[in-house]
């Protein structure tokens, strides 16, 4: 199963992902129309993109009272059916990330649809904070990076 993985240490807060998401999905440019949101703490220079992780056991699907949140058959995505969504926001509360966002105009929730298998946010993220692939890649990469620092510290001793 492929997802968008986030490495927050690499995020520089440029908001390119927000822009490309809102532009490609809604035709407007606005961080508030994006399905990915960059949270910032400028005094410690920390930027963390929050995006739907397409959970294996999505709490949003369990809690949705109208059955609007569901896993789309044939894809990896968990999506909101706009016709059934009543905008009760319970998925926002249930999600451990609070990743679903309210659409500025329709007031229904929306989450990442992986751009039909080619997420644009991962293409424009030149900082390397966002990547798309099987979940295994992220953990392998992180493990490797950690091993490398270990290697450096033992070598330099």
């Amino acid at each position: 199963m492929n997802t968008v993985s986030v490495i927050p240490e690499r995020c520089t807060g440029c908001q390119c992902c927000e822009m490309v998401c809102s532009l490609s999905h809604e035709g407007f440019c606005s961080p508030s129309l994006s399905r990915i949101r960059v949270k910032k703490w400028e005094e410690i220079s920390v930027f963390i993109p929050i995006i739907c992780q397409q959970c294996e056991k999505p709490p949003c699907v369990d809690i949705c009272p109208t059955g609007a949140r569901e896993r789309t058959p044939g894809t990896d995505t968990v999506m909101t059916d706009e016709n059934r969504c009543v905008g009760c926001k319970s998925c926002l509360y249930a999600c451990p990330y609070s990743a679903p966002v309210l659409h500025l105009l329709t007031k229904r929730t929306m989450t990442c649809d992986l751009c039909h298998g080619q997420p644009l946010c991962t293409q424009v993220c030149t900082a390397g904070a966002l990547s798309y692939g099987p979940e295994g890649i992220l953990s392998t990469e992180k493990r490797r990076a950690f091993a490398q620092t270990l290697l450096h510290s033992t070598r330099s001793r």
Binding site: Q15, C16, A127
Partner: protein, 503 residues
């Protein structure tokens, strides 16, 4: 309906605590685009002759461009204009600020924001869409910039708010104080901190949520993706990204070498850069920029980002400091107090030079001591100070634009000067295409040339400079100048590409 632009100007009077919205005529937008052009035309209309920078009427103008707040690469800059206290005599001055401020101004629904008047007690402006509030800032007065930014965001219970604030230096009305945004990006070379301080304005906090409409979203998306891809793959950019803006230092160094210290041990600048690099902890980027050249520094539990080489240079080799630790200490001081590193740096250069080599020699001092009359003494010292100084005393740090016309073009479209003018990663045709896709306005190259020429003329009129395109002006590239040259080169280049693929 206007696309790309918002077509609105926010006017604020701090004295009467009033805010109102004006429409900007579409014809004006098409003529001046935005940023520097809009600001200059506002001043020509309302303030053709300079007024005192300390007077309440003196407007501080912020303006974004038609591409600010969109996906267009490196388009996050803001143009700022006012009657500047650091120019002698005080007159119209401009500067530009990188970062996210312009994008949030645009998101609030404005192309331009003009602040006038003087508050009778410290305030900060809270702009939430079209709602503008004048919030008390007594509890923030005296606070450092970091504390102010965080306090305002917590007061509004929203960390996504963008804050532009001054520190104690601005409150004390030092002419070389600046305003800082996201604790990284500053509006320098203008005395912005002084202007805020005079108006008793501690900060501007903006939350912008309005979507920006585009003429042809699909084409705009494709153009931006293509451009971002090209910029990302560029060799110069890769170097910039790997080693931060320090990679530009070699070029900066040659121009701004400190004079009068004699020869330095070989490689000391390199050592200085290396010692700075040991404190690097990640990067920070302007709005919608694929370059991420801002370098974050972690120093003594304090973080500061967006270090650009010029800033570090002014507190490093420029003043003879070759110890990275001290450079960081000085920069940190500037950042928290809200001092302009360029101006404060050049002032310090002068003072330090005085301490080291002494414009007043011991002999001078002895002579001065012998003078009875206080007036004569003052004259003697002043005379010695001015006449014996070997170096030109220039408070405004020297900047050498590589191409003035491209500077103007970048400023009116709110593009990054480094990407457009220094590294030339976007062609003029690219920018024209982007403007067309965003606004639906297909501008010809001739119109662009006229606009740039008109803006330069307006500015020189505001600054009481006389420009004659045919004369030997100090700027040799006016009118039928550089922009035409660039366009010719671009066309030639395109032709050769077409020719190359055909053959």
């Amino acid at each position: 309906m206007i696309k790309g632009w918002t077509g609105k100007r926010l006017r604020i009077d701090l004295g009467f605590q009033k805010a109102w919205v004006e429409d900007i005529a579409p014809a004006d937008l098409r003529q001046w685009f935005g940023g520097r052009g809009l600001n200059a035309s506002f001043f020509v209309q309302h303030f053709p002759s300079p007024i005192s920078p300390a007077s309440p009427e003196n407007p501080v103008a912020f303006a974004a461009g038609p591409l600010t707040g969109t996906l267009a690469p490196a388009s996050g800059w803001t143009s700022i204009a006012s009657i500047s206290p650091i120019l002698d005599p005080p007159r119209y001055g401009i500067t530009r600020m990188a970062g996210h401020f312009g994008a949030s101004l645009k998101g609030a629904g404005f192309d331009q924001c003009i602040i006038q008047g003087r508050a009778n007690r410290p305030v900060y402006l809270w702009i939430d869409g079209e709602e503008v509030k004048f919030e008390k800032a007594d509890h923030l007065w005296g606070k450092e910039t970091t504390g102010t930014t965080v306090a305002i965001q917590e007061e509004k219970a929203d960390r996504s708010v963008e804050v532009l604030c001054i520190g104690p230096a601005g409150e004390r009305r030092l002419p070389f104080a600046n305003a800082i945004h996201r604790l990284s990006w500053t509006g320098d070379h203008l005395g912005l901190g002084y202007l805020f301080g005079v108006k008793q304005l501690k900060a501007i906090a903006i939350r912008g949520k309005k979507p920006i409409t585009l003429h042809d979203p699909q084409r705009f998306l494709n153009l931006c993706l293509g451009l971002k891809d090209r910029i990302q793959k560029d060799r110069k950019i890769r170097r910039l990204r790997e080693s931060g803006a320090f990679s530009l230092l070699e070029r900066e160094g040659g121009v701004m070498m400190k004079q009068g210290t004699g020869r330095l041990p070989f490689g000391s600048e390199k050592q200085w850069a290396i010692s700075l690099r040991t404190h690097v902890s990640g990067r920070q980027s302007c709005f919608s920029c694929p370059v991420h050249c801002g370098v974050n520094i972690e120093y003594q539990r304090g973080y500061f980002g967006g270090i650009h080489p010029e800033k570090a240079w002014h507190w490093g080799p420029q003043i003879g400091v070759y110890n990275g630790e001290w450079t960081l200490k000085l920069l940190r001081f500037c950042q928290t107090r809200g001092l302009d590193p360029f101006l404060a740096g050049s002032l310090l250069t002068r003072i330090l030079e005085g301490v080291e080599t002494g414009p007043l020699s011991e002999e001078d001092l002895r002579q001065a001591d012998g003078i009875e009359d206080q007036g004569e003494k003052a004259f003697f010292i002043l005379h010695r100070l001015i006449d014996s100084s070997r170096k030109e005393f220039d408070l405004v740090a020297s900047r050498c634009p590589e191409n003035e016309d491209l500077d103007v073009l970048a400023d009116i479209l709110s593009f990054c000067l480094v990407v457009v003018n220094r590294l030339n990663l976007m062609t003029v045709s690219n920018m024209i295409d982007l403007v067309h896709a965003a606004t639906g306005y297909a501008l010809s190259k001739k119109e662009l040339r006229d606009t740039i020429w008109n803006i330069l003329q307006m500015e020189s009129r505001l600054q009481n400079k006389q420009l004659h395109p045919t004369d030997e002006s100090p700027l040799p590239h006016f009118g039928e100048g550089q922009i035409s040259e660039i366009l010719r080169k671009e066309e030639h280049h395109n032709e050769s590409i077409i020719h190359g693929t055909a053959s």
